[in-house]
Symmetry: C2
Subunit: 590 residues, 2 copies
């Protein structure tokens, strides 16, 4: 049997030097270990995702092909599978293939070309690549026969997908006619809710169906809001998982005879998600959500040369969860939490912020907002005499001013530290309905929880208090109080206005989001739908209609904000992140 | 001969009610005029551009088809060509065609389906649509024969494009075998530098080549950063232009026997652009640039329910040009210019701002920044003791604080006026190298000149002083002084630092942008290239390398800013607007 290396690396799009150095280092190490075959992820040499970079900057292709030549020279006594962008050199075709070079003893012996080119959600393969219309030829190493497919090529098994099959051909079925002993899938597959269960079922069923060893090598990394979890693996001919690389980090796994360690997944990650049911506990998806975001933060900071983060700590849920995630990703010494109370901030909130910072061991201090707010108000009193104005009475001017002043402080603190980024703490539920301030809590160099809904954040908070080595860092009061931005007082109650008063119950809102994203529900479907919230609370048809209408109306006004969201991590099965979903600001969906 | 209407309408994606009302109104009017045929732009019923809206919100398709039924009922005694999204109803195909319904006397007699699906730059047709693989059948009205093609279907004439032809088939060649008298092209084609010359040459050559009347109906409108100029037209069988609708506004043109008015284009718009030569005068493109932006502002504000704009007036070029554009688009009474001087703002700048506002007749007042800046500085003195800090010495904290405080004032003023948007005044040259402040001059509800380079802005300023009815509104000093943000003092000279000192000459920078965008130049090409700037100024090879390197380095750091740019109007042949060009923040192009 051959000795095989699964080189689960991360890459940077267009950074041919970075990628090829990593590939060469892995090949060297594999040769030292007397490996016969080393497998890299899809497009390892170009890096992925790449947007439009090599369409506009054509010299990248040239540099990439030179680098491939240098890699080819280093393949004496080993076979390497290296993903790259291959020019088609055919004026009647698109300019490139998405290819894997099979390099053996200093020669490229095969160019395997991707056949199924996904063009939905975050994928845009067809924009760049020509689909290859022939079956790839298998190759041998020491008498063992290997077939290679590229990512999506494995995702059209007719017996698995049934009527949901979206392509005409099944590249696996076609290549299996050549009876390879082992089928290798070079991939770049981002982590999303429910995807691990799906991939595991599919790959295992293919291995069993064709009685073939199935090797899956996935990128581990983060770019462009996408988190690639790695979790490369091998199934044997009976469809049993016999080896699994680490998740959410790079790995270099050597195997003889397909025997290896089956690394643990984040707890519950392999479980099936019941999309038909909206679950406020999100039980199966919390550890994966946590690890996706941590990995995303780490990689975003590292690859952009940042090491430190500063965020506002309000004592509320969003900033609390962000602080925990940042401390775990960057180390507690690299996180600054600033409490920036205004005159209406409650003592309880101030205390929650302080306790959290102490529990986490992050830097903490307080900057009261009053001096800046007072200066601005004086300036406004002058400025607003020049224009017809509501003079703050019914407007959101002063509410927004608080959020913007806080962001100005955070950006200034980050300015003073060359490797520091300010953090945008707004969440997915609020992003959907635009309940976040432009240049305020929406603003930052990174937005860790922009694809996590409020109910999921509550579940995540409780989960983290249990799951992390250090227990209960999040004060119980943070997980119990109703969310609210503490930006204004309700004159009737004398208390700060909570978010659900202004909008709708988060449980209801998040269930709308769930069914819109996962099932394309429209207004009529939502009205007919029995909400989980309704099973516990009696609401009239009028209220229900009002909330659903509010969702559509507020989302419409929020699209502008979706367009200027800071970089984040796509976590859920679907999102409003523009990498996946694009909606023009001038448009109407209901 | 039949009486024909070119219905050059604007549409809103997914707003089926808005679009169908407009279509029905036009049909009614056409019937009142005894027209035989009315032609709408591509996808008129769905609206264009639509992003992913009907993929996620599936009920839109249902509503669109009901609306098509209602339109169909209103076609007694007339033929209407209505673009719509047509379900393929075939599991082996993508779910939709990009279609035109030929509706006659209450029946859809043909469904013309788009065959060439562009998937480059701002186009994403292939993401949504199945390419139709058969030739469309022509139809008759009173014995006259008509063929219909959809937009890109007209863009693969082998004799015109020669080796640049990117598709295998030419739908025009195929449909012309049926010998229609008239070929109709339903389009949604955005205005870009050089496009009018290109379209005119192509359409005219097709009319002549096939001895066919050629009718082109284009959308007039703005959405998603794209400006559709309308400019629908008819060429007769000898390729002569015999009718042209208005540009940059809706139009309803009736013609008998292909006779009609040839409306004037914005001056020079029909001229060829010499892309091979970088031209700091941009002579041919200034009127088109001006009208694109004006139309974009008008439509963006109208469709989103805004009527007023507020911007900071620094006395510099960017804010000056923005003020003129806004006054022309929204009316002078709807524009507020605020001068927000800090202690280092020169009297000359303050005066230029005042003179401009007076010339334009817009609202104007001054809010000195000092009170807010002082409060922030005091707060920072406290805050920065808590962290290791450079205490403003070498940092950009105080520079950025000025820009952010100004933006906070603008957003607050807009908060106090329900239909007012704050304006981001940063330009394309500065966007490229990130020379604009996050939450500062980069921030706003709309960015009118984000796709206009600095040299083009100088040319545009001079042009506007001549071109507008009211001459010389822009003070000559604004067009003569070197650009600079007036955010800091150079300790050596005691004067505020000008932008070219910090970066490189704008003429040089803009020429880099020109060759990168239009020819995909890389570092090596740029080094070899003889810059226009070099013909007038002696620079060493070291300086040239330094500037080119600076371009790449600063662009890399600026990608984050590209991702959070406010809505704008794409003007040039190419841009960094994410609707056209996408580059992940983690990536490298040199």
């Amino acid at each position: 049997m051959n000795k095989i290396v699964l080189a689960q690396i991360d890459t940077i799009a267009g950074d041919i030097e970075y990628n090829s150095k990593k590939i060469l280092d892995c090949i060297k190490r594999a040769k030292n270990e007397n490996a016969d075959l080393i497998i890299f992820p899809e497009l390892a040499l170009m890096g992925y995702p790449f947007g439009d970079i090599f369409v506009r900057h054509q010299s990248i292709i040239k540099r990439q092909l030179s680098a491939l030549d240098k890699i080819t020279e280093q393949t004496n006594n080993i076979t390497a599978l290296v993903g790259f962008v291959e020019p088609t050199l055919d004026v009647n075709k698109k300019p490139f293939y998405n290819s894997v070079a099979v390099i053996q003893n200093g020669k490229i012996i095969r160019k395997i070309r991707k056949r199924l080119l996904p063009n939905y959600c975050e994928f845009n393969d067809y924009r760049y690549f020509e689909p290859f219309d022939e079956v790839s030829e298998i190759f041998e190493i020491n008498g063992e026969k290997y077939g290679v497919i590229v990512c999506e090529d494995s995702f059209n098994d007719k017996s698995f997908f049934k009527e949901k099959s979206i392509y005409k051909i099944d590249p696996v079925e076609e290549i299996m006619k050549q009876q390879p002993d082992t089928l290798i899938n070079c991939s770049c597959s981002p982590s999303r809710t429910g995807k691990e269960y799906f991939k595991n079922s599919l790959f295992s069923s293919i291995a069993k169906k064709y009685n073939v060893n199935y090797i899956y090598v996935n990128q581990a990394g983060y770019a462009d809001n996408l988190c690639f979890d790695g979790t490369s693996r091998i199934y044997n001919k009976t469809g049993n998982l016999v080896l699994r690389a680490k998740s959410f980090e790079e790995d270099f796994v050597i195997t003889d005879n397909f025997i290896g360690k089956v690394n643990e997944l984040p707890v519950f990650m392999e479980k099936e998600i019941d999309f038909k049911k909206f679950d406020t506990k999100y039980t199966n998806d919390l550890a994966r959500t946590y690890h996706s975001i941590i990995f995303g933060i780490k990689e975003y900071f590292r690859k952009n040369g940042f090491t430190k983060a500063v965020l506002g700590l309000s004592g509320g849920l969003d900033s609390t969860i962000c602080a925990v995630l940042l401390a775990d990703a960057l180390g507690k010494d690299n996180v600054w939490g600033i409490s920036m109370p205004s005159r209406i901030t409650s003592d309880a909130s101030k205390n929650d912020a302080k306790v959290l910072a102490k529990n986490l061991g992050i830097h903490f201090f307080e900057v009261p907002l009053a001096p800046a707010l007072d200066s601005f108000k004086n300036m406004f009193n002058y400025a607003f005499e020049q224009v017809q104005t509501e003079k703050f009475a019914k407007s959101t001017t002063i509410e927004n001013l608080q959020a913007r002043t806080r962001a100005t402080i955070l950006w200034s603190v980050s300015n003073e530290h060359k490797q520091m980024l300010p953090i945008a703490t707004s969440d997915k539920s609020e992003a959907y309905i635009g309940y976040a301030t432009v240049n305020g809590d929406m603003s930052g160099g990174f937005a860790p929880i922009a694809d996590v809904t409020k109910t999921k954040l509550f579940a995540l908070g409780a989960f983290l208090n249990e799951y992390r080595t250090q227990k209960n860092v999040i004060p119980q009061s943070v997980l119990e109080k109703p969310p609210g931005a503490e930006l204004k007082i309700n004159p009737k109650t004398g208390k700060t206005v909570c978010a659900e008063e202004e909008n709708m119950p988060y449980e209801f809102l998040d269930e709308i989001i769930w069914y819109v994203e996962n099932f394309g529900y429209g207004f009529d479907d939502l009205i007919m739908h029995q909400f989980y919230y309704e099973t516990k609370n009696k609401i009239t048809r009028e209220i229900k209609e009002e909330w659903i209408n509010k969702f559509y109306w507020k989302s419409k006004c929020a699209i502008y904000k979706w367009h200027i969201l800071p970089p984040s991590v796509i976590v859920d099965a679907h999102s409003i992140n523009s990498v996946e979903y694009h909606q023009p600001i001038i448009s109407k969906v209901y």
